[in-house]
């Protein structure tokens, strides 16, 4: 009966346990393989698939390899259920690398999901696809990422940012520029969440690409408080590194401001640690800093491991490493000011890592008087979890070492709680001994007194060591400390059997060592303490403590009046106890006796000698070979002493004399009064992993070299507008009139300085050609009328608004539109042809060429000689007062071969076989009268699409070397194609063959034509086309007009250009997409599809550069 009840209750409790676990996945974890998983995976029910996947995950969690289910799992990626999908993704990520071939099966589904309207599905697909990490799909993944980087959903963009490091991890060199560009795009995102993730990507992909940061610096600072906490941590670091690289360290900061003091005579002679006590009147700071340590710390932050090693090999050169050029002042530097402003509220962050990162910035960059504001937030971090407490303490310790005064008033924060972990306690003790001052030392010592009685004896021993350190630092307290320590030694030595409690021994040893440390400072005034220690020798049983005291006997054997008189008794005692000592102590006894013997007075000498001989005999037959060795060594060394009868005997042979000297030197040496602080400690950046583990972790990078980041002035100026615009956008409230003023002035600045740079640096100059110039490159101008010069443009979805029934007229150029193309609505852009002007560069300056000025411009005509040649028009002009004779231009290479006129032909023949760049020479100009100009056509084959070609210019019998620079835009030729062909070709060149860049475009704003009521879209098209065609030899394939609801928004405008690379006939497609408002600066995305990656990328850069360049042709 009762039994039955018993069993019922048992089953009941079992049942209740089951009930509690019902609905959880407990049974799956406990017995994942109790059913056959494979058929479940193929089941048509989602719930069964789900269960099977859960079982697989359970096996993964338990460490089993279940990759053999891969094919079946991959099939389920198509599932509609979000849970199944999620589980499949989890599984895929675990095994995709192992089963690359099967993983490829899933790619199609990802591609499909990437187009899903649900952002969560897109994000998951992107995360998984990038996470699969197969080289084969890297181009696809990159394409997906760059697409998602422009996704409307913030979450998807964030995932795109997170996917970038995954792609970067595959180490595909050819993708690096594209990845970095996407990082740039995402850093520029307006959503803080995306910026945070982009900061993470930046840190792991291109931490030194400061150009990306410079573009957005102000915006990043402003967005920093809104970024998610994890992003903040990294973004703070990025901004700090950027500012250091760009502007250098701050002169007023703690890192640098103490350099000056060092040389101004604040240096005290007797120690390296010194307190800089400035007068109260003198700016009111009475702070003490460890100057040398600050120097070392600031140097460590900057220098890499190589420099550290080279420095540590010659430690004496602790000199100021910072050039004044490499520093900046906070008063004048806006960037530094902003950085400090935007990081200081983050000291209130809820996330300890953010607080520490922000504190690190303030520590390095903030002016000396502001550094103290990091103290309280840092101390508050000590109230967080025990794990972060430890890390924070490690960092505070470094701060306190360099600037103890910062933390000195807050010593109470470092009092130890019983719940602290041992490491935390140890660090707190170190802190307390570092920051103790004359005013706080009494409270601190009373705390220490409590700690000594703590049950944790290891901690108690550490406390005693800390007392020693305090006494060493503060000269006022040693007597009180010594009394306490001596009492402790007596108490400990009487505290029963020390062997039973392991920790006690440590406490005792530490007490003796601390006493030693204190005595070391000033042994003369402490001889009574030493004597007390000697007296207690008998009661101290711990070998290490005994050894230390015995060592002290040797060192202080001639100190004061009393000690030398004790020596014979002491050594007798040591000889008596020698047999029972531990080997550590035995060694010390031998050494000490030798030292005592050396410094012995005449009357004790015989006695001591006898003791020594006795001990050497004992030592020779000791069990430990260490002691036997030591004994023999001493015996040999002391043989001269042992042989003599007097302690100081000069009447010995010279050879023995040397031996005496050696002995004197080995044993008679006194301690150095003070051991210098090790200045070779290595410090790492605050908050870094390396600072905790105390070695440079892989991937640790010190701060960049101050002012190592310089960028071209040109870029800076053209970027100025953009940057300020970003600022203005954020500020919003700024008055419009003010903005207008600023715009005007800076535009002027930009143009003027760009102009001057061109003339000085590059020797390039824009010349506006005459309107009558017959060689307009793309569109040949028929002389009939302006309205007849019309370029037909086709649009896929053009609107009626822009329909123009003008039939195509005089298009004889290579880019002529094929008239039998299927008809679309046509847009006509007005007299563009007349406005397309090739850019002309100068080959020879009249200043250098004694009046001869040579310019050249690239022509769009195709060379008659070979497809590899480019036609260049050279314009010679005589600006001097005298005629110039025999002007000719020749290839430098061919000059070397021969002088005859035929050699040019030979050269040409060679060229078609060799790779030597050749020149189809021009007709020689026999005489050029003053003010006369002549045009000649040359055809050039460039060896490389970036390298200039060296030519020699002859005139008046002189030879002048000149350089002909290739223009990338003319190393392609127009490729006439329909929009269908274009799209088909484009679709065949995805992924790695597609690269894009962003740039801005503002020609249309300056264009005065905007005002005469012309359609804005058309004029933008016109401007862009004009710009492109003026700088490169392309064929305009089509124009897509935006189907926008406002006429202001030009977003969606797309121009397509077709071309082929001259040398290889490989098609190269250019698509320019416009974003932004008609009346403002537009953002262009230039995309190139081409198999020839290197050429394509270079051309892309070229296009992006010239699109930004202010145009001089708009008049």
């Amino acid at each position: 009966m009762f039994n039955q009840f018993g069993s019922t209750s048992e089953t009941l409790s079992k049942a209740s346990a089951v009930v509690l676990r019902i609905g959880t996945d407990a049974h799956l974890y406990d017995d994942p393989e109790d059913v056959n998983i494979a058929p479940l995976l193929d089941s048509k029910f989602e719930s069964e698939k789900c269960e099977a996947l859960k079982r697989l995950l359970a096996l993964i969690a338990q460490g089993f390899d279940v990759s053999n289910f891969f094919p079946q799992v991959v099939k389920n990626v198509a599932s509609q259920s979000s849970e199944v999908k999620k589980l499949v993704y989890l599984y895929l990520l675990q095994y995709a690398e192992k089963r690359p071939n099967e993983a490829l099966l899933s790619i199609n589904y990802f591609q499909k999901d990437l187009g899903d309207p649900n952002p969560l599905v897109r994000a998951w697909a992107l995360r998984t696809m990038a996470g699969i990490r197969l080289h084969v799909i890297a181009p696809l993944a990159l394409a997906a990422v760059s697409k998602c980087a422009r996704d409307p959903a913030v979450y998807v963009r964030k995932c795109a940012a997170n996917a970038l490091p995954k792609l970067h991890d595959l180490r595909l060199e050819e993708h690096a520029p594209a990845i970095e560009e996407i990082v740039g795009i995402l850093l520029n995102d307006h959503s803080p969440g995306v910026v945070g993730a982009a900061a993470a990507a930046f840190t792991s992909i291109c931490p030194n690409n400061f150009e990306l940061i410079r573009k957005n610096y102000k915006k990043l600072c402003q967005i920093l408080p809104d970024v998610e906490e994890w992003g903040q941590i990294l973004l703070i670091g990025i901004l700090l590194r950027y500012v250091v690289a760009r502007h250098g360290l701050v002169r007023e900061s703690l890192m640098l401001s103490l350099h000056g003091m060092d040389s101004n005579g604040f240096c005290e002679k007797d120690g390296l640690v010194r307190d800089l006590t400035l007068d109260k009147e003198d700016g009111g700071k009475s702070d003490s800093f460890d100057v040398n340590l600050v120097n070392v710390v600031s140097k460590c932050y900057i220098e890499g491991p190589d420099e550290y090693l080279s420095r540590s090999s010659c430690p004496d050169t602790v000199t100021s490493a910072f050039d004044s050029k490499e520093t900046t002042s906070i008063a004048h530097n806006e960037d530094v000011k902003i950085l400090l402003q935007c990081t200081s509220p983050l000291l209130w962050s809820n996330n300890s890592a953010v607080v520490l990162a922000a504190a690190g910035v303030q520590w390095i960059m903030a002016p000396l008087e502001d550094v103290k504001k990091i103290v309280k937030p840092l101390l508050f971090l000590l109230r967080s979890s025990s794990a972060s407490k430890y890390v924070v303490l490690c960092n505070i310790l470094v701060f306190a070492k360099a600037a103890p005064s910062l933390f000195a008033p807050h010593f109470e924060n470092f009092f130890i709680c019983s719940s602290d972990a041992y490491q935390v306690k140890a660090h707190k003790l170190e802190m307390l001994s570092l920051i103790a001052t004359a005013s706080s030392i009494t409270s601190i010592l009373r705390e220490f007194d409590d700690y000594i009685k703590d049950p944790d004896r290891r901690f108690a021993a550490d406390t005693i060591a800390a007392i020693g350190l305090c006494a060493k630092r503060l000269p006022t307290i040693p007597t009180t400390c010594l009394d306490g320590l001596l009492a402790l030694v007596r108490q400990e030595s009487f505290a029963g059997d020390p062997e039973s409690v392991d920790g006690e021994a440590g406490v005792l040893v530490q007490a003796v060592m601390s006493i030693q440390t204190i005595i070391e400072r000033d042994p003369d005034s402490h001889d009574k303490v030493i004597i007390q220690l000697f007296r207690s020798l008998d009661s101290i049983k711990v070998a290490a403590a005994r050894a230390t005291i015995i060592w002290m006997v040797g060192v202080y054997c001639s100190l004061g009046p009393i000690i030398p008189r004790m020596l014979t008794t002491l050594t007798k005692y040591l000889a008596w106890s020698f047999k029972s000592e531990a080997s550590e102590t035995k060694l010390q006894i031998l050494n000490t006796t030798a030292k005592v013997l050396i410094s012995a007075k005449v009357d004790d000498f015989q006695m001591l000698k006898r003791i020594m001989v006795y001990m050497l005999e004992l030592g020779e037959c000791d069990l430990s070979y260490d002691i036997r060795d030591r004994t023999r060594f001493l015996k040999k060394l002391l043989s001269c002493k042992l042989a003599s009868n007097e302690p100081t005997e000069d009447s010995v042979a010279s050879q023995e004399n040397i031996a005496v000297h050696v002995v004197e030197h080995v044993f008679g040496r006194k301690l150095k009064p003070f051991t210098p602080v090790a200045l070779n400690d290595r410090f790492y950046l605050p908050g870094s992993l390396s600072q905790i583990v105390l070695h440079a972790a892989p991937g640790y990078e010190p701060l960049p070299k101050p002012c190592s980041f310089v960028f071209e002035e040109h870029d800076q100026l053209s970027d100025l507008d953009r940057q300020r615009e970003a600022g203005a956008e954020l500020d919003g409230s700024q008055e419009s009139s003010e903005t207008g003023d600023e715009d005007g002035s800076s535009d002027y600045d930009t143009e003027s300085s760009v102009g001057s740079e061109f003339s000085s640096d590059d020797n390039e100059r824009k010349v506006s050609n005459d309107a009558s110039d017959p060689a307009a490159p793309l569109i040949q101008i028929s002389d009939t009328s302006v309205s007849a010069d019309q370029e037909e443009l086709r649009s896929k979805r053009a609107l009626d608004l822009w329909l123009d029934d003008q039939p195509s007229t005089s298009n004889q150029t290579p880019s002529a539109v094929n008239s039998n193309q299927s008809s679309y609505a046509k847009i006509s852009i007005g007299d563009i042809g007349s406005r397309v002007k090739p850019k002309s560069y100068s080959l020879l300056d009249p200043g250098n060429g004694s009046g001869l000025k040579v310019d050249y411009a690239f022509l769009s005509e195709v060379s008659t000689v070979s497809p590899l040649h480019v036609c260049v028009e050279v314009l010679f002009e005589n600006s001097s007062g005298e005629p110039i004779l025999d002007v000719n231009l020749e290839d430098e290479e061919s000059m070397k071969v021969a002088d005859s006129s035929e050699q040019t032909l030979v050269g040409k023949a060679n060229a078609s076989y060799n790779n030597v760049p050749t020149l189809i020479p021009l007709e020689e100009i026999s005489c050029l009268e003053p003010r006369q100009s002549a045009k000649r056509l040359i055809q050039v084959r460039f060896h490389h699409h970036l390298l200039p070609m060296r030519l020699t210019l002859h005139y008046n019998g002189k030879k002048v070397p000149v350089k002909l620079r290739p223009d990338l835009g003319y190393l392609v030729k127009p490729f006439s194609m329909s929009i269908e062909e274009f799209l088909a070709t484009e679709s065949r060149l995805p992924g790695m063959f597609e690269y894009s860049r962003r740039c801005t475009f503002d020609d249309h704003v300056k264009d005065s034509r905007m005002e005469n009521g012309k359609d804005k879209f058309l004029s933008i098209c016109e401007c862009i086309t004009l710009k492109v065609l003026s700088n490169s030899n392309l064929h305009l394939v089509s124009v897509d007009l935006p189907v926008a609801n406002t006429l202001e928004d030009a977003t969606g405008l797309r121009l397509r250009f077709g071309s082929k690379i001259l040398s290889s006939e490989i098609p190269l497609l250019i698509t320019i997409t416009v974003q932004g408002k008609c009346t403002e600066v537009l953002n262009l995305t230039v995309k190139i599809n081409c198999e020839e990656t290197v050429f394509g990328l270079n051309l892309l850069n070229r296009i992006a550069n010239f699109m930004v360049e202010p145009s001089s042709l708009t008049s």
Binding site: G23, T24, D25, A26, Y29, E46, A61, S81, S82, K86, L90, L93, E97, N118, A153, V154, Y155, N162, A163, P165, K166, S191, S204, P225, D226, E228, E229, I233, P345, W348, S349, N351, S352, A353, L356, F380, R383, S385, A387, S388, Y390, V391, E412, F415, C417, S418, S419, Q423, S443, D450, K453, D454, A495, V501, G687, S688, L689, S690, V693, H695
Partner: protein
């Protein structure tokens, strides 16, 4: 960045592994870790950053479960630690605590959570309110549903609206029929009384905890009557820095539900509500102990659940302790706990008894530290007072509530 996260049970079993990047971490690292922590004991377990031969390990221990993360490259260690803490918080929030059984029973949820919280070693979504929308926490209803219908996905099909907004901590449009907002001041008193009975350190660590159930997009302002007493503070990301800097007012758009708005510290308090007077005399191998606990300064509210716990020193072989009020328990690991509860009006609670020392020891030379625990409802001992809580747009039927409580934090009384 983090490469892998392991969850270890208190016996060292790897319950879960989640690889985060392509560089897989073998679980043998856990075996190494566990061997080390067995051989080196407590000091290894309390070391949050460990340089193992192959990886850098970050560990936190929560209720016996070790959360272990690995990295091979430089990264901010606090970031890893804070993240692990966040994972532990979220898990215990979801599962109602963390222990071996709970994690094993809900391993799918743990996997799904980890997958949302971290992507490629970098934290992705850590905001609890958004995670709750993405992955439904297990509750009785969903459990029953899954038993009955056989399938109930806990993974949401749609992206939570908050994930993309500029206030990522708040779902875009929560709706409540009655709008309620509660503010709690929860304070902990940290104090150290040294062996001379002197109050060495006494400070308050406080948190402003809120529970907001408000419709729409509320903008709140909370101001204190005496903000100047606050020594340090840290804020939830929702708090705007500007208004605090200029006139010490908390202005914020609150998350939905419970959250910690800010934490603060008030230093240099002069008095503790409770006193502890321990006395110990030792002679000839036995010690007499007597501890008195009483009210020093009456806070005006009842002081509840007073406890006093201490660790007997190693050299004590046996203890005989009794009290005139409350109960005394001595555990096998020599932890002694005296549960007092409320202090009676008529007498002063007193713990007295003898300790027998190990043979050979005449007197005690190490002394325990007493940890005091207490709780006072309805008062914030720091003296911080909330002045007012304003909403920019008042919703209909708004209910505001304020509470306060103080308990002992790290309250050490040394003997």
């Amino acid at each position: 960045m983090l490469q892998c996260i392991f969850l270890l049970s208190d016996s060292g079993e790897v319950m879960l592994e989640k690889q985060l990047t392509g560089h897989r971490v073998d679980r043998s690292i856990c075996a190494w870790f566990w061997d080390q922590s067995l051989s080196q004991g407590d000091s290894f377990k309390s070391l949050p950053v460990i340089a193992s031969p192959t990886h850098y390990l970050f560990q936190i221990v929560r209720d016996g479960i070790t959360f272990l993360a690995c990295s091979q490259v430089e990264m901010p260690p606090l970031m890893a630690i804070e993240f692990l803490c966040r994972v532990a918080d979220v898990l215990s929030d979801y599962l109602g605590g963390v222990n071996e059984d709970l994690i094993k029973d809900n391993f799918i949820i743990v996997y799904e959570l980890l997958d949302e919280m971290i992507d490629n070693g970098f934290p992705l979504t850590t905001e609890p309110s958004i995670l709750r929308e993405m992955i439904a926490p297990p509750n009785l209803v969903s459990k029953m549903l899954s038993v009955v219908t056989g399938n109930a996905s806990n993974v949401s099909d749609t992206l939570p609206s908050g994930a993309g907004s500029c206030v990522p901590w708040r779902p875009t449009d929560p709706k409540y029929s009655s709008n309620e907002v509660y503010v709690d001041l929860v304070e902990e008193m940290d104090a150290i009384v040294n062996r001379d009975g002197e109050l060495v350190k006494c400070e308050i660590y406080g948190e402003v905890q809120m529970n907001s159930q408000l419709t729409g997009f509320p903008d709140l302002t909370l101001s204190f009557a005496n903000p100047s007493i606050l020594e340090d503070m840290r804020f939830h990301p929702c708090v705007r820095f500007r208004p605090w800097e200029s006139h010490q007012v908390l202005s914020f758009v609150p998350p939905d539900g419970e959250f910690k708005l800010m934490s603060y510290r008030v230093k240099k308090l002069k008095n503790t509500p409770v006193y502890v007077k321990p006395q110990i005399t030792s002679d000839l191998g036995t010690c007499r102990v007597s501890v008195l606990v009483g009210i020093r300064s009456d806070p005006g509210k009842a002081i509840e659940s007073i406890t006093l716990s201490f660790q007997l020193p190693h050299c004590v072989s046996s203890a005989d302790l009794s009290s005139n009020h409350g109960t005394v328990t001595i555990l096998s690991n020599k932890t002694c706990t005296w549960t007092i509860g409320r202090i009676p009006k008529d007498k002063t609670p007193c713990l007295s008894g003898t300790l027998a020392l190990e043979t050979g020891l005449e007197r005690l030379h190490v002394f325990p530290t007493f940890k005091l625990g207490f709780k006072i409802m309805g008062i914030a001992l720091s003296g911080l007072r909330i002045e007012k809580l304003d909403l920019q747009t008042l919703p209909p039927r708004l209910y505001k509530g304020f509470r306060a409580q103080t308990r002992a934090g790290e309250f050490d009384v040394r003997l």
